[in-house]
Structure formats: C-alpha cells, structure tokens
Amino acid sequence: MRRALAKALPFVLVVLAGCGADDKDTAPRYPIPGCESFDTSPCDITTPACQTRLFELAACLHGVEPGDMPPVTLMSENDFRSYLAAEAAAQQPMPNQDRWDAANEVLGLVAPGGLDTATEIDDTVKAVGGFYDDQTKTVHVIDHGADSTPETSCPVLLHEFVHSLQDREVDLTSFRQMHDATYDADLASDAVIEGEAQFQAQRYMASMLGLDPKSVDWARFYAEGIASAEEQIAQAPSPLTATPNSYPYAWGSRYISLGWAATGHSGVLDLFAEPPADTQREMASVVARTDDVAGPPIAAPAAPAQLTFVGDDALGALGAFELLARSEDASAESIVLDWRSDHLWIYAGTNAAELPSTTVVWACDFKTAGSAAGAARLVFGGQTEARAVGSRLVVAGADDGSSVDWAFDALLSP
C-alpha cells in the first residue's frame, strides 16, 4: 500500500500562537526521571549548543551514550517541497499502481484524486515538523516560519535525534525492508520506530512545558491522543494516506510506554528484533501489552477466468478500522480489536466496453460472529458490498459494477 512521502510529527504541530519574549520563564522545571541532570528548557535549535544539549538528552532518554551528533539542517517549506518532489520523481512506480489506486477507491480508502502527488506533497509540507534521512544520516527540521518556535522545534529535533540513535543500533533501512510485506506489518513495525521517538519526545515535552512528568496522567494522555487520531482517520477523505501520519505516533507511543518502565532501552531493542506482526496487537494493548491473537491465513478465492490476479495484501485491524470508522459508529473501535486475520486480493479485467476494470475482494476473520456482523453493518462508502457468515466478513466490489458474487460464494461457503 502506498505510504506518505515523509515521516511526520503531527503532534508537535498542535501549538499555540507565538507568545513573545519568555521573560516569565522562571517557573520551576521538573526533571525527566532518569535524566535529571539535563536542562529541558526550550532553546534555539539553530545554535550548536542547543543541538548538542538536545542530542545528549535524546541519548539519555533512549538509554545509550550519545557518540557523534548527526548533521542537522533547517529546511524551509519551499526547500522541503522541492525535496519531496524530487523524491517522488525518483520513486519507481509500483507494478500495477493504477489498479491498486482503483482498488483503494473502490474500497473507499482513497477519495478520487486522493493520491495526487502534488496534493500529497502539500499536505506533507504542512504536517511534518522534521524528518531523519536514514540514507544520508541527516536530521532535517522544517522551518514553518512564525509557527516554528523553540517550544515546537525542540521536541521535533529531539524526536529526530532518537531516530538517528535507533538507526545506529538497528539500521532503519533494513528494518523497514524486513517488515514491509503487508500494509498491516508495515504499520505495526513503523509504530515501533515512530512510537519510541514520539514517546521520548513526549517525556521531554512535559518537562519542557514546565510540567512534572511524574504527575502527568499518561494513561489519559495516550487515550486522548488515540481518540484524536481515530477521529482524524475517520474524517479523512482518504484514510489510507492519513493513517501513516497518525497511527505509528499515537498507538506506537502508547505501546512503547507500556513496557518502558520495566525494560527500558533493552525492551525497545527486543521490539526492533521482533516487532509486533500486526496492528491488532498494538491497538489492543491499552493497559498492558497483549499477546498475538492472529488466526490462520485465509485462502484465496478462485476467481473467474476473465479476471487476472494483480496483487494482494493484508490490512490488519487498523485497515479494518479505516473501512468501518467512516460510519462514525462508536462500536468500530471495539469491533476491530476482534480482528483475527484478513486478506485483500485485487484483480484486473475488461468490461463489456473493453475498458479496464478492477475488482477488489477483502476477507476478514473476527473473534466472534457478532463482530463480523457488526463490521458488515458499518462498512461505509466505496463501491462495495459487505456480507458476513459466521465470524467471517467479506467485502467486495468492482469499479465497473460487475457482480462479485463469486467472491462471496467462495469465501463464505461452509
């Protein structure tokens, strides 16, 4: 599945308007547990002293010796736009990209035109506070003009420094390649990368803002962050492009937080060695990390001869949420936690007018028949039909309106 063009840090862009000189900044600043000796006050990230302090703090929070600081650049929005355009131009198109795009539109995961590169670049420029380039090993912070203040930029820089420290230990490029077999696995592993960086930035942020990290209601903090991310996904015209900018941060940081007190840095390394294979595990981990509940894989249906198999994927619990959430029904969240297994198949065909057509079939097994039936009721939008039998849900549709009964027959027969 298509990913956003760059890594975002949406949380830190939720900021107040600028407030002038900080001559009132004499309030006590509470230290971060474990890194008590570090000054957490906001600073001018363009200065070497500020960068060094934040890098050393990032290393302390992550739990390693700092070593050499990576290069840091401040990038204007225009430069970032050019960078993204060049990156998009250099990207090899995915085989059958047009069929994948059509399939996502049939499912309602992408609005017509929602995968337009220029639109995606504009959205990315607005949303991203900074990024770590694991090819050049460079940290980039985006200068958003008046919206960039020390209070917004420092957590961004610290977040990206954590990525540079992760990269030093686990090689982020290889890690991503090892875990991108499906949309579900890709999101789940990205939640480890972004989740840890976001978690450390949040610990820093509380202290930077003058709050005592020990008195913050972190459970509520994460619950509110996830509720807000769920709303963002549910209301996005193209949930598929909105998710990578919210899921890894909101759910990932909570997942990391749940094990941090007990295992700290070594626990994070364990997660990099063996990340959760699916998003259900991260989504269901609310007060403690849960076990893997994934069920057996779902066998592909036998498609009619006139259809050609194009590709397949697994959407996972988060993908299921994308399909159900636009119903704005509160039960969507609990239903998708009952996810056990899913698979998506895409087929190409030719309709009566000899124009290309795309057919998409998604089958999902739930823990209970009630959840499958509930999900069938909530699948919203797109050009699909949803049917549930027992604990299995099948959603299928074709962009030329062709019958997909063959898919229901094959996947829902006892």
């Binding site: 939720v14 407030c19 900080d22 009132k24 309030a27 003058g210 509520r220 903090f221 509110e224």
Partner: protein, 168 residues
Amino acid sequence: MSGKVGSLLVAACVAFACGNSPSSPGEAFCKGYCKFAERCGVASADVCPSECFDDRPGLAMLSIEGAGRLGDCVSGFDCSTVTDDDLWKSDIQACSVAAAAAITPTPRLRSFCTALSEAWFDCNTVLSTSDCLDQYGIFSDTVLDELGACTEPTSCDTLKSCVEGVLQ
C-alpha cells in the same frame, strides 16, 4: 487554540459595550483609555470615565493591576485605531500579552497555570506554564478560581467548554 482564548477575551471585554457595573479594574483601565479617547476626539474628559466603565462590565474579570497596565498601553494607541476595528483588536491583544508579561506572577497564578497546563497536556494540547502565565496573568483571582475548577479531570470536551464558558 485554547491559548488564544485569554487574549481574545480581553479584546472582547474592552471592545464591546455591555452593561452597567463600574469596578476598580474598570477605573484602572479607563484612566488610560480616556487619555487615548480624549486625544483622538472620541470622548470628552467629563463623560469618558463613566462611559468607559459603564460600557465595559467585562473589565471586572481583570485584576486591578492587569487592567491598569492594559489601560496604560491603550493610552498610547494611534488614533487610526478608532476607525479600524481590526487594528484595534490586534493592538488590544498585543497590549494584553504585554500587560500580563509585565506582571509578577503570584503563587496563586503559578499554581493555576501548572494545573491548567497539565490538564491541557493530558488532552494532547500544548500550553506551557510560561505561556499560561502570559495569557492569564491579567485576570482577577475570582476568574482564576473559576477557571481552576475547570481543570478537575473530567473530559477534554468538558475542559474546553468550561474554560470557554468562564471566559465568555
């Protein structure tokens, strides 16, 4: 978002005519305001003070010191603000921030700001304690007490509506 509420409210308190309840903060503000009004020919010295605080009961939400500093700032306004509503609002907002920044925070204000910043943080919204001091420093203790009650943990929607309710 929420952080702007305080400053905008001050603009509303000062800009719009309302009821009839003169107060000490009103007098403190109007002393400065009338210098501006007389200089720019908006009001005469004999009627300005009473009209000023009669027309602005919202000033009672401010502390005496805060209202006085705000009035001092307004006294230096350019006369073009009389006819330019947007300029008036933006200048008042700038004055309210400057006035709050010049006030030494009381322990009560500091404790309120810790609670409010923490409450917003729990709701994934950023308000540093120093920004809070700048934005709420000109309000009276009574208003801070009312706002402080909003920070008791309930829900984020309740926090938002409670703060907005107090400041309206």
